[in-house]
């Protein structure tokens, strides 16, 4: 039995760039925007950072390989900087590296920064995936919406819920995120959208319409972490959040190649959630979590994630969603910042952006969208496809919670 990461690391500063179609800047500029905010928040000097992790998932579209571009742009003092990539869970992965470094004692103060520059491709949506010379021999040229859309057909079949009811719940998920995103000045998409517009939008990958898909955005987010002792000793910084759990689960081929997976849930999320709750000491997530930021790359992903996180019972997420349980005034507000759907999804930044929102909410700095006295929040990041993926979960809370 490991002791886990709970309460061993404090988040003392966070920053996040404006997400969106940032035709005005490079990935390096986005990083600086997030970094300056976090550094000011923490009240530290760059030279106090002794290790850094860069999350950057698509270097071909952004800054190229290695961690060098981050070290150069931020003028880091020749410290160890590591580039990590784990598809859409990249941001969480960068934070995990920094947190583990501090927890191990190898680092006093570490930086996690995630960035993606996706709007220099010349077209909408994510670039085509290359699965390498072996898998591409027989794998379909699957798009991200096409990969996740398959959850819907399997979910409907498994729980005998009509595709039209699932579609309505999916539309509510997107409607709610647009309502939330409208209150977030840093969000990519800030326009409220009617349910009817969502339901009737052009189809992207059946049954996912245009509004079932998240924004493809440019953006960066970052976190500065240290030990609780250092956090408590900082002169210019008095409020901070604690890392309660960081868990990662990765597919091992069962979903893709073994008949035990039903295609209607994400096995890795279930495993990571179980371990994260244990690590954070959470027994009833439906009652204990103040808010969740989940990987709503597509509305159907958010729907099944609510069950995979054990907040909704199996087969009951449609009902919970339609009853408003995940709306801002519901039992567990989800995507209070607009989520991937409206805040946007710069891949390498997303996990850190989720942590940023939980951090702001915990410290009472979320402005118009501030919830009443949140004490603990969960982030969920999912990279890959339902049949083969990386699932990262973070739980953050106030000190002493």
């Amino acid at each position: 039995m490991t002791s886990g990461i709970r309460d061993k690391v404090a988040i003392i500063g966070m920053g996040c760039s404006k997400f969106g179609e940032r035709f005005d800047c490079d990935a390096q500029d986005l990083m600086l925007e997030a970094f300056f905010e976090a550094r000011e928040d923490a009240g530290i000097d760059t030279n106090e950072i002794d290790a850094a992790w860069l999350g950057h998932a698509m270097p071909e579209q952004g800054m190229g390989p290695t961690a060098t571009p981050a070290s150069v742009a931020l003028r880091l003092p020749n410290i160890p900087v590591t580039r990590v990539e784990n598809a859409c869970a990249t941001g969480t992965e960068a934070l995990r590296g920094a947190v583990y470094a501090v927890a191990s004692g190898a680092s006093r103060m570490a930086l996690a920064i995630g960035v993606e520059k996706l709007k220099d491709t010349g077209f909408g949506g994510l670039p085509e995936f290359n699965f390498g010379p072996r898998a591409s021999l027989y794998a379909p040229s699957m798009s991200a919406p096409g990969g996740f859309a398959q959850l819907a057909s399997a979910y409907s079949a498994k729980y005998a819920i009509s595709p039209s009811d699932v579609k309505r719940a999916m539309a509510h998920i997107s409607w709610k995120s647009h309502e939330n995103g409208a209150l977030n000045p840093k969000a990519h998409l800030r326009r409220r959208v009617e349910m009817d517009t969502i339901m009737k939008a052009p189809m992207i990958a059946d049954p996912l319409g245009l509004y079932d898909c998240c924004g493809v955005s440019d953006g960066a987010a970052c976190a500065i972490v240290t030990t609780p002792e250092v956090a408590a000793s900082l002169k210019q910084k008095h409020d901070y959040a604690m890392v309660k759990a960081l868990q990662l689960a990765v597919s091992n081929g069962v979903e893709a190649s073994h008949c035990s997976w039903d295609g209607a849930s994400i096995i890795t999320t279930r495993n990571a959630a179980k371990r994260a709750y244990q690590e954070a000491g959470i027994k009833d997530p439906r009652k204990e979590l103040s808010l969740v930021e989940v990987h709503d790359c597509f509305s159907i992903t958010e729907l099944v994630t609510m069950e995979d996180l054990h907040i909704s019972g199996d087969g009951s997420a449609v009902e919970d969603v339609l009853n408003g349980f995940y709306d801002r005034d519901g039992g567990v507000p989800c995507q209070i910042d607009g989520g991937l759907k409206c805040f946007g999804h710069p891949i390498g930044a997303s996990g850190l952006r989720m942590a940023y929102e939980v951090y702001l909410q915990l410290l009472g700095r979320a402005g118009e969208r501030q919830l009443d006295n949140p004490s603990i929040g969960l982030t969920h990041n999912l990279g890959g496809f339902p049949h083969e993926n990386v699932s990262g979960i973070g739980i953050y809370g106030l000190p002493g919670v």
Binding site: M142, P145, S257, D262, G263, H387
Partner: protein, 497 residues
């Protein structure tokens, strides 16, 4: 030519006609302004390949219909004819042989460059078999996908298809009594190396100076060699898109006009080198014992065979003939613009996603040749779990056995749909893309592309695997093949979206 070895003959046959249809009246509507004479061809439809079909994939379908893949594992030779092979320096037959599960110790020949190439491959297979005393069978297949210049009569009359025959010494369905060929450099049409389209001469000249002068002596000589009188011919197979020619040849040879076989021009068009053999397959499918067939084709001379069915044919299980099969098929109507785009005849904008590099690693492809050719999965030697791809560690979470797995081909195994989507975003030459997870009867599963259907098939409905083109690489003029899920035509159609 003397009478051939009486032991050898046709032991099996199969054919394939694709499901897509081009309605001729639609073509007339698009191209009639160029040549109002096309109105004379406005009846019926052409059967054409989907964007992911070609002569290789059609040949695989026809061969697998003729013989089970287990029988095909013991074939000694494969002769394949086409005038539209996808590769000019790569043995096209080798692609077909691997996909059909034929052994590596195989003699294989591509036969091409004349409209009678299908009959030449048929003759070569017959001769190879009769010279080979072993019990191994020999296969010939003719497959063609002829493309005419838009607005041409070739474009109105041609169709795509493949037909395959097995030759052997046991359970022979029909024997060849005689064969004759002439070779004359008569240029009714030609297509130069590297050219996309034929150039043809006037039909009246082709009919009068070509068919009616060149064919009759060959037909009569073959009948004489066989010792069969023209009036005893039950079935006369001689495809031509020039109207009336076959009937005139029958009259010239003294064959009853009732013996002239259906050429399916109205329902599918003429399938080039495959057509005589397609008509033969249809004839044998409905023939009784002791019937006599005159089979011939034209192209730089004439090649003819006299065949006689054996009593064995009466015991053969009957399938749908060509007309019934083509008419009972799903018959998806293809708009002209899509058709032209499939064939590179119209340079449409497939969008920025089409720019992605689709290079095939030839070394990786060869390393995984069995997976690709026959969808070879692994079967765990301990728990029996069948898994794709084959792995060194069993995927079953309760087993995880480490070691060799047995080969288990999924290519001929039925499966049911577990997940599916229809994707308008990802690149496809025939959008939308359709793919999903299928689960085979053995329990193996994989995410695969689906072949075209009008509607998205329902979850749990049945699919069979079909060999198709998986990916095109326009930068390097290469394309690779793999297996896709082909929904069962009778089960398609899910909930209305």
């Amino acid at each position: 030519m003397a009478k051939l070895d009486s032991m050898t003959g046709i032991t099996a046959f199969g054919f394939y006609v694709p499901s897509l249809r081009l309605q001729r009246k639609t073509l007339l509507g698009e191209f009639g302004w160029i040549n109002p004479g096309l109105a004379g061809y406005r009846q019926g439809a052409r059967a054409v390949c989907d964007f992911d079909e070609d002569v290789v994939t059609m040949a695989v379908e026809a061969i697998l219909q003729s013989r089970s893949h287990t029988a095909l594992a013991d074939i000694s030779a494969l002769f394949m004819a086409s005038n539209n092979f996808p590769f000019v320096d790569r043995l096209n037959t080798s692609i077909v042989a691997a996909a059909c599960g034929m052994p590596n110790m195989l003699e294989a020949v591509d036969v091409a460059n004349t409209q009678r190439a299908g009959l030449s491959a048929f003759r070569m297979a017959r001769e190879f078999s009769s010279n080979n005393a072993s019990s191994q069978e020999v296969i010939c297949v003719a497959s063609d996908k002829r493309r005419g210049r838009p607005g041409s009569t070739v474009e109105m009359t041609s169709g795509d298809a493949a037909a395959a025959f097995a030759f052997g010494h046991e359970n022979v369905l029909a024997r060849i009594l005689a064969h004759r060929a002439s070779t004359v450099d008569f240029v009714d049409h030609y297509r130069s190396a590297g050219a996309s389209y034929d150039y043809g001469w006037e039909e009246r000249w082709i009919r009068d100076a070509g068919y009616l002068k060149i064919a009759p002596p060959v037909l009569l000589a073959t009948l004489e060699d066989a010792g069969v009188s023209p009036e005893d011919i039950d079935h006369f197979i001689f495809p031509s898109t020039i109207r009336g020619v076959t009937a005139q040849l029958a009259a010239a040879a003294g064959i009853a006009k009732e013996a002239v076989r259906d050429d399916f021009q109205d329902i599918m068009g003429e399938s080039g080198v495959a057509h005589p053999l397609l008509m033969l397959a249809d004839t044998l499918n409905s023939a009784g014992a002791g019937e006599k067939i005159l089979l011939a084709g034209f192209g730089q001379g004439c090649e003819a065979f006299v065949l006689e069915t054996t009593p064995e044919i009466a015991t053969m299980p009957r399938r749908e003939g060509v007309r019934a099969k083509v008419q009972s098929d799903e018959q998806i109507d293809l708009p002209t613009i899509r058709y032209l785009s499939f064939n590179g005849q119209l340079d449409v904008d497939f969008g920025a996603r089409a720019e992605a590099d689709r290079k095939t690693s030839l070394s990786a492809a060869y390393r995984h040749a069995p997976d690709l050719a026959r969808l070879v999965a692994g079967k765990c030697t301990v728990c029996g779990t069948v898994q794709f791809p084959k792995a060194a560690i069993c995927v079953n979470p309760n087993c995880r056995h480490e070691g060799e797995q047995d080969d288990h081909s999924l290519a001929q195994e039925a499966a049911s749909i577990r997940t599916i989507t229809t994707d308008w975003l990802g690149f496809s030459l025939n959008p939308p893309n359709r793919y999903g997870m299928v689960e085979f009867e053995s329990g193996a599963r994989m995410i695969v592309n689906f072949t075209s259907t009008a509607d998205e098939p329902a979850i749990s409905s049945t699919i069979n695997m079909a060999y198709r083109i998986q990916e095109f690489d326009p930068m390097r003029n290469y394309h690779r093949y793999c297996w896709k899920a082909k929904p069962d035509h009778d089960e398609t159609g899910g909930e209305e979206k």
